[in-house]
Amino acid sequence: MELNNQPQPEVYSDKILDKTEGEGVEFVKQQHQIQIEDPDSWQNEESNHNFILASADALINWSRSSSVWPVNAGLACCAFEMISTASSRFDISRFGMEIFRPSPRQADLLIVNGTLTWKMAPQLKRIYEQMAEPKYVIAMGSCAISGGLFRNSYAVVPGVNKIIPVDVYIPGCPPRPEALLYGIQMLHKKIKKQRNFEKRKSA
């Protein structure tokens, strides 16, 4: 289907960059068809036997879980429930989380809120990769969990855990702010079970 010979476009439109972006999306679509299993490895490990390490673990996990900073990455409708949770009524700052960092470099938690489309998938994967360790992901809303309402659409990723490993799933469309707060408390429980003094792939 060759394009017609329209006049020299004085409108700036970068076809080469679009083509590379298109290839990136196709590449991610081929790569990410199977589910990435959730990083739950530390759930069933019993805590450290050594007394000093156990209390150091407790201190480190407490400090990590009590100030988890989310990335300011809103995709769709759930983003506005997340902002409602961050505003004065549902007050996410009770958990030390009211600072929504725009750049992933300074954030620990990526709340995927809204429908993830294939065109946005490589970008979201890049944001997740560029976050500092240890990082956690909350899949908020049924669109993030399984594609939700738009599951059999040609342009929607049926579930974010095909792209990035997810720690906590929050059902709802959109989930009420109380549900998001409950999900965050579950994430805190999960962080508190982490063991820190072993050499292993990232948490």
Partner: protein, 123 residues
């Protein structure tokens, strides 16, 4: 005379201890595997709103930014010299006032010259 200022030494030590801790602690925590280490290519890429960066960034900027920086530095340095004078205003008396005015006048000449040469125009 000197003994009156020994507390400055404590500040110096505190500064070094703090600096050492700020640098040493992450290295120590990395050694104990508290800070996980998971290098990958994407992480060391430049973050630009989730997109790959395109084009080069070492480019020729407009010169007016540099003009502003120069003028700012001159005035800033002048202010640094005013501080000690301002603290001891009473003891130094009128002669110090005249010298400071001469000093300010010299810098003002450069500032007005730059102003007239339209260096501060922000087109």
């Amino acid at each position: 005379m000197l003994t009156d200022y020994t507390y400055v030494a404590y500040y110096l030590i505190a500064a070094f201890v703090f600096a050492g801790g700020a640098i040493g602690l992450p290295i120590l925590l990395r050694y104990f595997h508290v800070v996980p280490r998971n290098p990958n290519a994407e992480k060391y890429n430049i973050y630009e709103c989730g997109m790959e960066t395109t084009g080069k960034t070492w480019i020729q900027f407009n010169f007016r930014y540099y003009f502003y920086a120069l003028i700012f530095v001159t005035l800033d340095v002048m202010v640094v010299f005013l501080y000690p004078w301002a603290v001891q205003l009473k003891q130094l008396g009128a002669t110090a006032l005249v010298t400071i005015l001469v000093f300010i006048f010299i810098i003002a000449i450069g500032y007005i010259y730059a102003w007239k040469k339209k260096a501060l125009e922000w087109n």
